[in-house]
């Protein structure tokens, strides 16, 4: 009797554990690495990077902990083993190289800039402005008094920002217009490529502190953006023309319906 009870108890326990595993499984987001699973259950310093990373552009684009810090995201026991390529957090001087493994062009821009040249001499690294885990999509909003004043006066940065602001606005506007046209079946591939190239050139200016160069480059970008805008204006004008023709066609059909109805009534 006792043995049967034990068997029944062990079976019930098995069923309960299976049920628990099945019901808990959906709570853990599918695709979470062991890094997130482990750090997510910690407190204090261990937990600190999880939430900021979850709100970052890296998370949006599927760049996880292991893509920067190395290690094995599938094996919790050896996730942080140097044998599995774990790098940990870089030292200050190594930060540009750490981020620059992916952001190659931006690393070069940074190293050529006054910020990059001051590396190790009190100058900022990537994470000083962009943060280490809550990295957001870059916009001109990053250049602001609060950020810049941490190290130097905002005067020069203000001039840089105002020189770039118009380009930023134009880029955003053109992107939105392209998206709208794409949703209406317009082939925007070529214009998107051109805009992408200009956006890249513009982003390369983000690490520049030479105001003269920024003004020159911004003017060149603005000229190219103006050409793209011209193309979009032409497409919009064509679509407007189609609507005018459409209004006439609808009016014509309406008039035909009225006339035909009047003609029909003359026979009745």
């Amino acid at each position: 009797m006792n043995i049967f009870r034990k068997i029944a108890f062990s079976r019930l326990t098995g069923v309960a554990i299976t049920f628990l595993l099945v019901s808990v499984a959906p709570v853990m987001a599918e695709g979470d690495t062991v890094c997130i699973q482990c750090h997510g259950s910690q407190t204090g310093r261990g937990l600190a990077p999880v939430k900021p990373w979850q709100t970052s552009i890296h998370a949006v684009n599927g760049i996880s902990c292991n893509h920067c810090h190395g290690g094995d995201p599938t094996d919790s026991a050896n996730a942080m083993s140097p044998q599995r390529g774990f790098l940990g957090a870089p030292e200050e001087l190594a930060i540009p190289g750490f981020c620059g493994r992916c952001h190659i062009g931006i690393k070069a821009d940074y190293l050529h800039s006054a910020h990059g040249r001051a590396l190790g001499k009190g100058g900022p690294t990537c994470v000083t402005c962009h943060g280490s885990h809550a990295v957001q999509k870059v916009s001109i909003e990053l250049i602001n008094e609060k950020n810049c004043s941490r190290c130097h006066s905002y005067d020069r940065a203000r001039i840089i920002r105002s020189a770039m602001e118009q380009t930023e606005t134009t880029l955003v506007t053109l992107s939105q217009r392209l998206e709208q046209l794409k949703e209406r079946g317009v082939d925007t591939a070529e214009l998107e490529k051109r805009l992408f190239a200009q956006r890249n050139s513009y982003h390369s200016l983000f690490h520049e502190v030479n105001t003269a160069r920024i003004t020159d480059e911004s003017a060149k970008i603005a000229a190219e953006l103006n050409l793209i805008k011209g193309r979009l204006d032409k497409i919009d004008a064509e679509h407007h023309q189609r609507k005018v023709i459409g209004a006439f066609a609808v009016g014509g059909a309406l008039l035909a319906a009225l006339l035909l109805n009047l003609l029909r009534r003359t026979y009745c």
């Binding site: 079946g185 082939d187 066609a249 609808v250 003609l263 026979y267």
Partner: protein
């Protein structure tokens, strides 16, 4: 003028043109109380003709190859002169054809025109309806966009719920386990050749039956609204004292076509995106399922019905039973009364059915 008269005489001697005109046009009398709803058939013929013309024009540039289909449709929309107009005509026209066809069937239902001796008219009309749904479904895949690819995946998947043969049927429809280049080939052949030929043949039969049996009298404005048909011998339903088809009713038909054109052109020029959402302009990607993929509006109620029942097979059976009931309605509803207000059971079922269909459609859209 002299030349025209000479040609007329030449044809008259050989073909009896005057007699033909008298018999089929000026002397062809329709019920005196005929209404605007009767012209929906002519509107449908007009739409179908426009679909054939725009479809043939699209065929000139469309490439039925999975690697090139999207690019070719993109080129039609952007580089072919007036290609956008032709494609939008075809897309908007296909949706309008389903809508007008449903209205035509509803008018026949409410006026009791499906009743004896017109069972075959109803049945042939029902077959046309099924073929129009099939041509719409097959045409939907051809642009090879995200929308078409995933909507077809969902639609063909439901056939898999049929026990025993389901998986074979899905594979037969797709030409493989998944929607792919072979599905496109099959759907293209069905869309441009098999189904249109079928539709033309059944339209021919439908018109022959209309001509042979005669146009039904609407039940409105009459003291006796009962079905006058006697089950003893064939009689063509004549309408002495009625109105001539030409010019009177032809003008009514043309007015209806012009009214249809107003709505058609309004959607085409100002709101075509209601039939072509964002996903219709993204190339098909079998590895990326869009977040909220939905079938076309006329399949939304079917889609929602499948979701309501715990088992897709039950959902399919319910739909099959509903469609069979509708197809066989003239053999089930054999009462002589034709006026809708004198048929309370019919009215409750019909209005309830329409509301249920619309409700399921809205539910399917927002679910």
């Amino acid at each position: 003028m002299f030349l025209f008269r000479k040609i007329h005489n030449w044809l008259n001697v050989r073909l009896g043109v005057d007699d033909l005109v008298e018999k089929q046009l000026t002397g062809y009398l329709l019920p005196a109380n005929i209404n605007r709803w009767y012209s929906l058939g002519s509107v449908l013929l007009f739409i179908f003709t426009l679909q054939v013309i725009s479809g043939v024009l699209l065929l000139v540039y469309y490439v039925p190859d999975a690697d090139k289909a999207f690019t070719s449709v993109n080129a039609i929309m952007n580089t072919v002169p007036y290609g956008w107009l032709i494609r939008l005509c075809h897309v908007v026209g296909s949706n309008m054809m389903v809508l007008v066809l449903i209205l035509h069937m509803l008018s026949v239902l409410f006026m009791g025109s499906y009743k004896r001796p017109r069972e075959l008219n109803w049945l042939s009309g029902f077959v046309i309806f099924t073929l129009v749904m099939a041509i719409s479904l097959t045409g939907y895949l051809l642009p090879w966009s995200q929308l078409s690819f995933w909507a077809t995946t969902v639609a063909t998947n439901s056939a898999g719920a049929i026990p025993f043969v389901g998986s074979y049927l899905v594979e037969f429809l797709r030409g493989g386990a998944l929607v792919g280049p072979y599905t496109l080939g099959r759907f293209f052949a069905l869309h441009v050749a098999v189904i249109p030929i079928g539709i033309v043949a059944i339209i021919g039969l439908h018109l022959f039956l209309l001509e042979r049996i005669g146009v039904s009298t609407p039940p409105f404005g009459l003291s006796d609204t009962k079905n006058p048909w006697k089950d003893d011998r064939f009689r063509h339903e004549d309408h002495p004292g009625g109105i001539p088809f030409f010019p009177n009713y032809l003008l009514s038909d043309m007015t209806s076509v012009a009214i249809y054109l107003v709505f058609f052109l309004l959607i085409l020029f100002f709101a075509s995106n209601i039939f072509l959402p964002k996903d219709a302009f993204i190339p098909a990607n079998p590895f990326q399922t869009p977040a909220h993929i939905k079938p076309e509006w006329y399949f939304l109620s079917n889609y929602q019905t499948l979701k309501i029942f715990p088992n897709e097979f039950i959902g399919l059976m319910v739909q099959g039973a509903g469609m069979t009931f509708l197809a066989l309605l003239p053999f089930i509803d054999r009462g002589p009364e034709r006026h809708p207000l004198k048929r309370p059971l019919f009215m409750v079922c019909a209005v309830g059915g329409i509301l249920l269909w619309i409700g399921l459609m809205i539910w399917g859209h927002y679910s």
